[in-house]
């Protein structure tokens, strides 16, 4: 029983991993790629770890497998967050199909402080010095 | 697999050496990193490949086929020392750059003394 369950989890996990990779390749902009890698890959690994835990049926292994899952669940979103934020700072372009951008113009370029949505939008520096930076 | 790895090692060496021959010091650093990969893999492959069994004795009964531990110990040492060397080289380049403001190796020779 455990073996079959484990096999199933493995297959599901692998499928999600593959999907994550596909998403990272296919999605049109960075942020969507982050979606793929954060969600799908984490879930995929989670499934695989669960499969491993089921396979070994020992407390020590299960604890560790769960530790891996918890760890990933803790770190993957934070990783995505710091990366996404940094990417936004370096003005990675959003996909053309993006409908709106509430964040636009709310970062303070020098202090990296972020204002709330009610704050007035600041004209973006890149609209001025797009060519000067190079 | 040995054959495959041999080609991988060759590829790594070629890449590393090409990078080492660049004039930009930063590329040289990358080459250094690749070189240590290549060297470690070389020892690993040349010492013989064993699939699966880690060189850990399960309590009581020694496993029948286990991987050769000695090259592993050797490579472990090599990896860590490689890290030290890379760190040092990196900082050295960093200092040289901040002093001379060039990353062109050929231009560094005037400051040879």
């Amino acid at each position: 029983m455990a073996a079959y369950l484990s096999a199933a989890f493995m297959l599901i996990g692998a499928a999600f991993m593959l999907i994550a990779a596909l998403g990272v390749v296919r999605f049109p902009d960075l942020f969507m790629r982050l979606h793929a890698s954060t969600k799908s890959a984490t879930l995929g690994v989670g499934c695989l770890m669960v499969a491993a835990a089921l396979q070994f049926e020992s407390l020590a292994i299960t604890t560790r497998a769960l530790a891996v899952v918890v760890f990933l669940f803790l770190t993957a979103p934070v990783g995505a967050h710091v990366l996404g934020r940094a990417a936004y700072f370096s003005r990675i372009p959003l996909w053309d199909g993006t409908l709106s951008d509430d964040l636009r113009g709310h970062y303070d370029a020098s202090t990296h402080a972020l204002a709330g949505p009610e704050a007035p939008r600041v004209p973006l520096p890149e609209e001025v010095d797009e060519e000067q930076g190079a | 697999m040995e054959t495959v790895l041999a080609f991988v090692i060759g590829g790594l060496y070629a890449a590393a050496i090409y990078m080492l021959l660049r004039r930009s010091v930063v590329k040289l650093l990358i080459g250094l990193g690749l070189l240590s990969h290549a060297a470690n893999l070389l020892i690993f492959t040349a010492a013989g490949l064993t699939r699966g069994r880690a060189p850990v004795v399960t309590a009581g009964a020694p496993a029948a086929v286990i991987a050769d531990p000695l090259p592993q110990a050797l490579i472990l040492t090599a990896i860590v020392i490689g890290f030290g060397v890379t760190a040092f080289a990196l900082v050295l380049v960093f200092r040289v750059y901040s002093t001379l403001r060039t990353d062109n190796l050929d231009r560094m020779r005037e400051a040879d003394a």
């Binding site: 073996a3 484990s6 096999a7 493995m10 297959l11 996990g13 692998a14 499928a15 991993m17 593959l18 994550a20 990779a21 596909l22 990272v24 390749v25 960075l30 790629r33 982050l34 890698s37 890959a41 984490t42 995929g44 690994v45 695989l48 770890m49 499969a51 491993a52 396979q55 070994f56 020992s58 020590a60 292994i61 560790r64 497998a65 530790a67 891996v68 760890f71 990933l72 770190t75 993957a76 934070v78 990783g79 710091v82 990366l83 934020r85 940094a86 990417a87 700072f89 370096s90 003005r91 990675i92 990296h112 890149e126 930076g133 190079a134 | 699966g52 069994r53 880690a54 850990v56």
Partner: protein
Amino acid sequence: MSTGGVTSVVFGALILAFLLAFVRLARGPSLPDRVVALDLMATLAVGFIATYAVATGQALYVDLALVLALVAFLGTVAFAHYIEKGGRSWRRI
């Protein structure tokens, strides 16, 4: 029990995923894209290790997965750190 068959399918999927991630790593176009790819590769490696542990029945590999899970995050943070600090300087590269 067809664990052997299952694991080899899983391995195949993972390697395929690896190569796909590498495609993103190579194509970029921006540094964060590459970092996403690298991060994904690390995560894939964690999965690979778990699968490997199952395939060989050696539990000790699970620890490896733990180490790697930690480390992958670190790399990403470092890159993000750089990107943010460097502002747009990566574009000049």
